[in-house]
Symmetry: none
Subunit: 244 residues, 4 copies
Amino acid sequence: MAETPPNVENESCDDLLESLRRGRPAAGQDPVKRSQIIDGARRVFIDKGFEAASMNDITREAGVSKGTIYVYFANKEELFEALIEEERGTIFKNMYDVLDKSDNLRETLVKFGKVLALKITSAKVIQAQRTVIGASDRIPDMGARFYERGPKRGHDKVAAFLNAAIERDLLRIDDVDLAAYQFTELCLAGLFRQCIFAYRTKAPTQDEIDRIVRSGVSMFLKAYGTERLVAEEGHQTIAVEAKP
Amino acid sequence: MAETPPNVENESCDDLLESLRRGRPAAGQDPVKRSQIIDGARRVFIDKGFEAASMNDITREAGVSKGTIYVYFANKEELFEALIEEERGTIFKNMYDVLDKSDNLRETLVKFGKVLALKITSAKVIQAQRTVIGASDRIPDMGARFYERGPKRGHDKVAAFLNAAIERDLLRIDDVDLAAYQFTELCLAGLFRQCIFAYRTKAPTQDEIDRIVRSGVSMFLKAYGTERLVAEEGHQTIAVEAKP
Amino acid sequence: MAETPPNVENESCDDLLESLRRGRPAAGQDPVKRSQIIDGARRVFIDKGFEAASMNDITREAGVSKGTIYVYFANKEELFEALIEEERGTIFKNMYDVLDKSDNLRETLVKFGKVLALKITSAKVIQAQRTVIGASDRIPDMGARFYERGPKRGHDKVAAFLNAAIERDLLRIDDVDLAAYQFTELCLAGLFRQCIFAYRTKAPTQDEIDRIVRSGVSMFLKAYGTERLVAEEGHQTIAVEAKP
Amino acid sequence: MAETPPNVENESCDDLLESLRRGRPAAGQDPVKRSQIIDGARRVFIDKGFEAASMNDITREAGVSKGTIYVYFANKEELFEALIEEERGTIFKNMYDVLDKSDNLRETLVKFGKVLALKITSAKVIQAQRTVIGASDRIPDMGARFYERGPKRGHDKVAAFLNAAIERDLLRIDDVDLAAYQFTELCLAGLFRQCIFAYRTKAPTQDEIDRIVRSGVSMFLKAYGTERLVAEEGHQTIAVEAKP
DNA sequence: GATGAATGAGGGTTCATTCAT
DNA sequence: TATGAATGAACCCTCATTCAT
């Protein structure tokens, strides 16, 4: 019945060893085959969207038989959901690492903003998001789950980061939750909607993102930065300006 | 075939009278029937998305025969495009009126921001946008056209408004285009993505929007407002605060 | 009920006068409109074949409304039959005139054979025949009726002509009916099947037909010619050869 | 897709065994199922013609599902072509064997002529030819291909046979190609057109064919036979007449 | 357990025919 | 009477799913 094994990523290694040790894995339990199927599905779904993708295409792309797919996934929708689950993981993986270094505040925000904008607007990710959005009506909760475990989690990390800065008296923010949203939006100013509606057919350039993010961070810090932040940045700036 | 008569909205009334006066309207020209079809199509497309919607569903929902639909619209795509065209018109109609009144700057921005957020995040409009986004892969340019004639046009109006404020020495902005995007995004902070991914299943409340927009406008003006704006607002604030 | 008026050609003149005298003709009785419809139908049916021709095409080509066609002809098949009836008339009209001149036998046969081959293999006529043949299964008796009133009638005329020549002691034939078929076939040697199967995409040239017909007539006369014919032709030949 | 395996007839037996030996045959490769489909298609196409035949009819008649047909044949046209290919093979198979025996010339021609007339005018073959002719407009080259690989090939064999007789000084022919056509036509005198137009609803009797063919061969030999042929036949005739 | 040939409901679209105007 | 907008059955074809092998 194509049960999705919980914690696929962590278990897959063990399962692999297991399967080598004990011989053939149980039906729908071989993580290698599961990956193989999802990889094929990824190429097809991302390329064609949910409806236009055919199980035959996926069969071909994955190099497994139709029947096997149906052992691992109950139907097209479940396969798609599993894929999205994986994609979500891949997209948002490591995206927030940069927030863990307690560097200079402005530069940390800029670095993070650039990574965020770059990822979210990359062709691959936009495609995936479009597919999820388009399928949201047909597959209840799928969009919600995607958001919850992707963007929402990122949002929480940003909020935590802001709280840390507040602790250090670098920021003064009434509504941290809102501020976190504002920061994210400023980093994507105009880009997300342009990309998702295919008004932009190409991902934005590094320069463009840099310009947008720097402007957004400036605005953000002008609004929420404390005197201490200004003072610290003043030193740095002086130092930097004093260099030559 | 199935040409969209220009100014459908304005003409439909006359045409209706006309059809009562002169008898049956020409094939594919009856605005009443056209509306009937589009209304049926709206329910089905919005509910299921482009691919999953079947012409049979639409036939049933619209209460007309299959053949009739194909007299009015050459095929499924054209019907969908016509629907989206209408939706776009409805969504963005009058949205920018508030920008024409050269009121107090802050309040104008707040008023506009609230209208914008309210519209864009309304259940109906979110549904429509989801449908467009989902169909963007299959119908090249349709998403782009939607964006261009909807959000893009709004963006241009915002930019023009900002330019006017710059003229009046109320704002000082390097990159007006970017600033316009920033303003829009701040008004929607977090809302658009939450809605479009169906993480939020209900439209935000008036209060929530008010809070978000006011915060966004504050940040925007703190970043781009001139001394003159501060001075003018100071007077007002004093006046207001002096009231009681 | 779309009754085909008998003797359309002869009556049409009277009907026309009638309609001018008495005003509008009865439903389905106006021969002008009938011709108009058939003319449109001819262009469409010959061009596309029975199945591929649409009543809309015919409507457009004929310049009359759908309803009107259905007043004159009960359905597509009847319209087609009526057209074929007319075509048959046109194709075989005057084809046999040359047999009425009691000229030199050989030359009469050659002349007739050439007219016959020319007509039967002309692109237009081949198309019509193909359409009739293709529709024969769907419309019982139509092919038979076409043959009966077309080729069969011609065959009878040829047989009559041969009988006349027998009377004049120019031919000696056991089975005149068979001889008439043989003559016809010899004139079309290879052409009919090549054309009807679209192996030949162009009608044969005059020269080709001339060669085939002369050879066929020679064979025919060698088989059925009497001594008297030989004698008479000898004189002529001598006369001709003696000329220079 | 749906490639016609070469030598279907010869291989089908092996394939059948193969499929019994090795289990299920590959998709679109099972010759039994292929035959089953073509047999159903034959009944429907021959009965209704190309256009009027529906894939549903064929599905029902063949006793296979719609999808299966489309595994074996890419579309309606390809199925039809495959059928015609088979029919052509069946019709013309062995038809020319009699020409290989260098018997008495006249009797060989008579025997062959009778086989030819019998085959070409048999109900089954006439039906098939009608179907091909009717479809010739919609499927370019199909009629041509049928003619080329059927009647044309036969024509070439006849021409070759005549050339052999010329070598043996039994015939004297200027234009062998034309003579071959003449011979064929004489054997079918009147029959082909009568049958193809459904004027004759039944195939001609053996007697009728015998009469027609003998008459045609006589005419043919009277036209093209040499003195040597006459002499040889004289002996035979004397021998025969001397019998009693 | 894995396979992929077979299924058949349902897809978008066409068009002969009807009937209100 | 003549019209042509509307109908809806039927068209060819696709593809998610099943199940015999």
